[in-house]
């Protein structure tokens, strides 16, 4: 036994003894702790706040008032209006995105010269920062100096539509569709590429028309991915904030005030009704969870069929 040899090897062998369960814990714990601190704790805190009267700009501490916030919110026509705005916006933009995105995917599914490059180019809008995009579209929509009206054929600025004033919600939908149709396209493309050729061959041998092939093969095969894309987009549309803030800031008046914008205005502008806003945040959360569950239920039912 020579101690001078055993000393340097001892720590190494101890390091090797780290058991798998220790590694598991060491690897997972930091992530879980961070997620719990930044997500679960705030959720409980705002659940508490939603039952209190509280303004973060004042000195008074939260006062428990029971469900009064929820009661007031559900009676407030302003809140219902912003839910209606969000709903209309989500419905319009998601359905347009589904149709356009699926159409683009059908267009780009065939391999041809530069199809990869063109696909990537079309995908650029969805990677950009929504608030900056929204901001810049203000210039594009401007009836005097913007190009939008000129491109769609209104050459006379005195008679052409003033998009952000006359059709504010439609304007937001246009930009959202421009930005996110490529997303639906990307998902549908992967669905289309996964359809095996032999199904079409069999259909062609059976002399199925291309119309029939589309309804009986293409659509059902892509449906799960299309629905997934619609789910993602619906959740995002219900959260709509960045783009609206950049493009209209919720205006003119309250015409494009989505729930998220209303929430923001409630907390950070005016009287800072923090307790009330927490209650609204919870209502939004419940709506989002409900909508996603309906989709997931539908997706599962379709898988079983």
């Amino acid at each position: 036994m020579n101690p001078s040899i055993s000393i340097p090897t001892a720590p190494r062998s101890r390091r090797r003894q780290i058991s798998d369960s220790t590694i598991q814990r060491l690897f997972i714990m930091p992530t879980l702790i961070l997620l719990i601190l930044w997500n679960i704790f705030p959720l409980f805190y705002s659940l508490f706040l939603s039952f209190t009267q509280y303004s973060h700009s004042g000195k008074a501490s939260p006062v428990w008032i029971g469900a009064a916030n929820f009661d007031a919110l559900l009676r407030d026509p302003q809140i219902w209006a912003s839910f209606a705005v969000t709903g209309r916006y989500a419905l319009l933009s998601v359905s347009l995105q589904a149709v356009i995105g699926f159409g683009l995917a059908l267009l780009l599914r065939a391999r041809f010269k530069a199809s990869g490059l063109l696909t990537t180019l079309i995908l650029i809008p969805m990677m950009l920062s929504p608030v900056i995009v929204g901001m810049f579209w203000r210039l594009i929509f401007n009836p005097l100096t913007g190009i939008f009206n000129y491109l769609i054929g209104f050459w006379d600025p005195t008679t052409s539509p003033v998009w952000l004033k006359d059709y504010p919600l439609i304007s937001v939908v246009i930009v959202d569709v421009w930005m996110w149709s490529p997303f639906v396209m990307l998902l549908c493309l992967s669905g289309l590429k996964a359809i095996p050729d032999y199904i079409y061959e069999a259909a062609a041998v059976d002399r199925a028309s291309s119309w029939r092939q589309f309804w009986r093969i293409t659509l059902p095969q892509v449906a799960p991915l299309l629905l997934l894309a619609i789910l993602f987009r619906t959740i995002e549309a219900l959260k709509a904030f960045d783009l609206v803030m950049g493009l209209t800031g919720g205006g003119p008046g309250n015409a494009t005030e989505t729930v998220s914008v209303a929430l923001y205005r409630m907390v950070f502008q005016g009287q800072a009704r923090t307790g009330m806003a927490s209650a609204l945040a919870y209502i939004v959360l419940i709506v989002i969870i409900a909508v996603s569950n309906v989709y997931i239920w539908y997706l599962n039912r379709m898988k079983e069929a």
């Binding site: 090797r16 780290i18 267009l107 063109l118 079309i122 809008p125 901001m135 210039l139 990307l186 998902l187």
Partner: protein, 338 residues
Amino acid sequence: MATTATTRPTFAETGPATPITDSVRVDQITPLATMGITVRLVISILVALIMLIPVIWMVMTAFKSRPDTTASPPVVFFTPSLDGFVGLFYNRSQLGAGELAQYRERTDLSFIERQALARGMKILGPSRFVGQLRNSLIIAVTSTLLAVALGLLAAYAFSRYEIPGKGDWLFFILSTRMLPPVVVTIPIFLMYRALGLYDTHIGLILLYTVFNLSFSVWLLKGFIDEIPIEYEEAALVDGYSRLQAFRKIVLPQSATGIAATAVFCLIFAWNEYAFALMLTSEKARTAPPAIPANLGVGGIEWGVIAAGSLLFLIPVVIVTFLLRKYLLRGVTFGAIRQ
């Protein structure tokens, strides 16, 4: 009667007149399908052009002089100017008539100052945008490094070990990403104000780290799942420790996945608006909430806004091209692989 049906050589004996190099789908030799390709190409080019018009317009506006940006009808052909960029990086002030003549005679003006003088302005000093861009960079890079490092460890553990309640944990991790930012911001805002993290780099870095963490765990788990577990088992048999196997086998094997994940996290943190708007004011303010604020005094400076937006978007466009293979994975949390 030269050849009868019986004497004619059959197809099986001679084979096709020309060798078949490609298999042809039966339904794709119809006139419609063959004609389709050219039509598709033309339509796709048109669509790509339409999609890119706003981006192209932004590039053009960034290089227009002030009168050109507000011309009606908008001008397509113009003499390029650096007006927008000068306005973006420097604060300027209008020169009075006397000062103007004085400035015109000076010969010691720098390039930037001459640009400003062309509009009758002088340079006061660097603008706040420089600092905001720096904030964006610091916060995005640091939070990405943290999110990827922590995410990688968790993803490895979730991929390789049987952890009780694994599915539930993974679902919990994913669900944190579904929360609307505005919903979690109120308590986080109060929490940050109490802890002194409001308007600090650290505060925003931690928040973006957490927000990206769920994404990076899911995406990286998908990449690690694809590495055959046999490699590590072989290494373990050869006397590697778990950690060594992780470092020497899993890390290099998942390098592409790590890079792709990092870039997605970077884009998220780079583009993020809602948290930055509500949790910063001055010191740690990043570029996205700041660019709209540049709408500024004395009329909208579209050239300046376009220049700022352009600088901000260039990295994202480059990254889109680099990542094109992984875009699908990235936008679906790794749920769909191509």
